[in-house]
């Protein structure tokens, strides 16, 4: 440590590289993810009775068992997310198309799981950029899906070219309404969006519960479910059954680019970002805070609603009551990890999607509950929100500029 302060000329290439690396926010992001996984591994070790038994035998045995547990957990996570590499190479060698597709099945399934993450991630990121903390992506996604389902079976005799956009629009409108209400309340009454969006989640949940149970119930079913949506409202799938990979993925990517363009290449986006960074300064600069906050929130809700619509139209084709997705909550970590950049969301959504998809296999093979993913996410948020922790652990240097811009409008009441 002392050497660096004594003279610049003594520093070699490596130390300069190290210093640059230390200052980069990418380093922090990657180390946060890695540390999250390490913490997850520790959790697996601590909660496995096998490990304690092995430690009772001998210390070496204990270490070996710990390593085996963690390796087993993460390798089955990997297998679940990407598919078995051995199977894939065998299938490619055999040249049989059907075999190749089935070997790549888990990979495409992961992309299917990634799709709603893309929507909700962009939604939450957009909210953060506009200075609102949208915890309501969950509810917005759900009302979006029920609205799209309704449009999917109600309008008959339409061509897919009209029916698909129409159903997507219904989903976006419903989600947009679910975002608009908290946004409007925040501006008009000062009710903090963190609480109102959470309440809207519950209201949406029970509303769907009611709608599916009573007015929208398919009379031919015992368990409450909506009717199937019509063929013309199905989002096209790219491969034969059982691979569910559908057009929604590319719509989501398109939305991410669109929002990126809106935020960074238009005046309007500039205003949104400006309000998000400093509301008072933007107010004095003559921007209309009210409109920007409300529209930002509604737009965020609409994107999340679109995510729900794409789930119904591309994957499930009908809605049942049990619809606790968790996508909306995960997307908070996801958006923070992407530093609220719509294109960064594409990367982090892929990460989360593959994790989530793989975790199901992990639960089956390694007996580790899928909720370990939540714990990983919590640690990743922790390390990202407090980069100083990561710097201390890995002995990185302080950057000359300020840390990652993670913030929300904190106080629970508007001061007037």
């Amino acid at each position: 440590m002392n050497k660096e302060t004594t003279g610049q000329e003594k520093r070699n290439f490596l130390s300069i590289f190290y210093e640059e690396l230390s200052k980069s926010s990418i380093t922090i992001i990657i180390l946060s993810i890695v540390s999250g996984f390490i913490m997850g591994g520790i959790l697996v070790i601590v909660t496995s009775p096998e490990v304690y038994k092995a430690f009772a035998v001998s210390f070496g045995e204990g270490l070996a068992t710990s390593w085996k547990m963690v390796a087993n957990t993460y390798s089955s996570l990997f297998l679940g997310a990407f598919g078995d590499p051995a199977k894939i190479s065998a299938a490619i060698k055999s040249g049989d198309n059907a075999k190749i597709l089935s070997a790549f099945g888990p990979f495409f399934e992961s992309l299917v799981v990634t799709t709603p993450y893309l929507f909700t991630g962009v939604a939450v990121a957009l909210g953060f950029r506009a200075g609102v903390f949208n915890i309501g992506a969950e509810g917005q996604l759900q009302v979006g899906s029920i609205a799209a389902a309704w449009a999917g079976w109600t309008f008959t005799g339409l061509s897919p070219w009209i029916h698909i956009p129409l159903a997507l629009l219904c989903g976006a409108l419903a989600g947009g309404l679910w975002g608009f209400i908290p946004g409007w309340l925040k501006v008009k009454t000062g009710a903090h969006e963190v609480i109102t969006t959470i309440m809207m989640n519950y209201i949406g949940y029970y509303l769907i519960y009611y709608l599916v149970a009573v007015p929208f119930k398919d009379p031919n079913e015992v368990v409450p479910k909506t009717p199937w949506i019509l063929e013309s409202a199905h989002l096209p799938r790219f491969f034969p059954e059982p691979i569910r990979f559908h057009l929604g993925f590319f719509i989501a990517i398109g939305i991410a680019f669109l929002i990126w363009f809106l935020l960074f290449k238009t005046t309007w986006g500039y205003e949104i970002r400006s309000v998000g960074i400093n509301m008072n300064a933007s107010k004095y600069a003559g921007m209309n805070i009210t409109v920007i906050t409300v529209v930002g929130m509604a737009l965020s809700g609409a994107i999340a609603g679109l995510g729900g619509a794409s789930e119904i139209m591309g994957v499930y084709w009908r809605q049942s009551q049990a619809l606790s997705t968790g996508y909306g909550f995960d997307s908070i970590a996801l958006a923070l990890l992407a530093q609220n950049h719509p294109l960064g969301v594409i990367l982090t959504a892929l990460l989360f999607g593959f994790l989530r998809s793989g975790s199901k296999v992990m639960q089956l093979r390694a007996g580790i509950p899928i909720y370990i993913i939540n714990i990983l996410q919590a640690f990743i948020i922790l390390f990202l929100a407090a980069p100083a922790i990561i710097r201390t652990i890995y002995r990185l240097k302080k950057p000359s500029i300020k840390d990652l811009p993670i913030s929300s409008t904190t106080s629970l009441s508007e001061k007037k």
Partner: protein, 426 residues
């Protein structure tokens, strides 16, 4: 400095403007409720129908005859009061008393629904209110936890997470070592999570909402993880629960006794906490310092109060209270842990704190209101009520939003809440 005062002026101007607007909106809502009660509820009823409110739920209290009301006349009275309050709100405004008046109108509306729903039959009035008190426990104690930290300038939206985590640990510790150790474990869990929150938001100056969200996600994850891995059909999830006991003499009072003084430990500790906190916050030196740190940390620091220590202590205390509230779910009601048992009560507690204007007495009032809407949901689904149960379940959440929207502009939280304190280096 110049900019600051300008900003304050701006806020004042904007505040009064929305104040008037809000007054008219609230008044109009009152009048709308009056119209609703008169035309939708009262008009279709025949004039000779009666509603009976059952007053006895057990034979411990002194028995009194049930209350019988004429349904239509009672509804018209409710409508009349709502109309009067609405007109007064629009013309003069209730100013500081608005939240109380909103609560009164809420209660009136609910009474109206009861008169209407139970027209020609009877409903156990005392039973419903007794359930209200029980259901208000986690909300009120959660709100107390929130106000302890927020009075010192730390926003804690992780009450939900702290409650669910403590519900889990209390169930485990309760099963292993006995029920009282369950309570200890819960308090300890709440305190530990709160210290993480404090450490992040005071030392690392992490945005407090994000830190709280992190704790919420972590708590949901770790509890579900543990539940699935260890607690399903296991002896680790059989802690038992606290049995109700009666407060001597008081429990004999008809109606009041069964409602307030015939419960388990949690209800009585809730009363106690409200009293102790009110005295501690407003009548002691400690309370004055505590509030000063939340209002103006720099001034408090100048006067020699250790801002950081006060905030750490507030978090510790708030976490312990939240942990205690969490143990209610497993030890105070059902005697086991379920994954989704808190069901957003931690967030409703925050709303109750705001509705109660960051005071202990206000918090218990708001907690009772939310508790009432929950007990109403339970009881009404038993009656032949024309609204589906699924829709009634939305009620507490809708009330929360209405309360937040109607009240927040008028109630004012501690000035420095949510802002990290940076001690200027010399």
């Amino acid at each position: 400095m110049e900019k600051n005062t300008l900003a304050q002026k701006f806020k004042v101007i904007r505040g009064t403007k929305t104040g008037t607007q809000q007054r008219i909106i609230i008044g109009a809502l009152f009048i709308l409720s009056a119209i609703f009660v008169h035309f939708v509820l009262a008009s279709p009823l025949a004039p000779d129908v009666n509603t009976t409110f059952g007053t006895n739920i057990n034979d411990r209290a002194i028995q009194i005859p049930d209350w019988v009301f004429n349904s239509k006349a009672s509804l018209e009275i409710v409508a009349g009061i709502c109309l009067g309050l609405g007109l007064y709100e629009i013309i003069r405004g209730f100013k500081k008393a608005t939240s109380i008046v909103i609560a009164i109108v809420g209660v009136l509306l609910v009474l109206g629904f009861l008169f209407w729903g139970a027209a020609g039959s009877s409903i156990s009035f005392t039973g419903m209110l007794a359930l209200m008190v029980v259901r208000s426990v986690p909300i009120t104690i959660g709100a107390l936890s929130g106000l302890i930290t927020e009075r010192a300038g730390i926003v804690n939206i992780a009450i939900e997470g702290m409650m669910v985590a403590s519900a889990l640990t209390s169930a485990i510790a309760g099963s292993l070592f006995g029920i009282w150790w369950g309570v200890v474990a819960a308090i300890f869990t709440g305190a530990a999570l709160a210290m993480v929150h404090a450490w992040l938001s005071i030392k690392y100056k992490v945005d407090q909402i994000i830190s709280g969200t992190m704790i919420n996600i972590f708590a949901t994850g770790i509890t579900s993880y543990t539940y699935i891995k260890f607690l399903q059909s296991s002896t680790l999830n059989e802690p038992g629960f606290f049995k109700p006991f009666q407060i001597p003499l008081l429990y004999k009072i008809p109606v009041i006794g069964p409602i307030f003084f015939d419960h388990n430990l949690y209800v009585y500790i809730m009363y106690l906490l409200v009293i102790v906190l009110t005295i501690a916050l407003y009548k002691t030196k400690w309370g004055l310092r505590h509030r000063a740190v939340g209002e103006h940390p720099k001034a408090a620091d100048t006067l020699g109060i250790n801002v950081f220590r006060t905030r750490y202590f507030a978090c510790l205390l708030g976490g312990m209270v939240a942990g205690f509230a969490g143990s209610y779910f497993s030890l105070g009601s059902v005697g086991r842990f379920e994954q989704t048992m808190t069901a957003g009560r931690g967030f409703i507690a925050l709303a109750a704190m705001i509705f109660g204007n960051w005071t202990p007495v206000g918090s218990i009032g708001a907690g009772m209101l939310f508790g009432f809407s929950e007990s109403l949901t339970t009881k009404l689904s038993l009656l032949h009520f024309p609204i589906p149960a699924e829709l009634l379940l939305m009620l507490p959440y809708i009330i929360t939003i209405v309360v937040l929207a109607g009240v927040v502009g008028r109630s004012r939280g501690p000035a420095a809440s949510g802002t990290p304190y940076e001690k200027e280096s010399l």
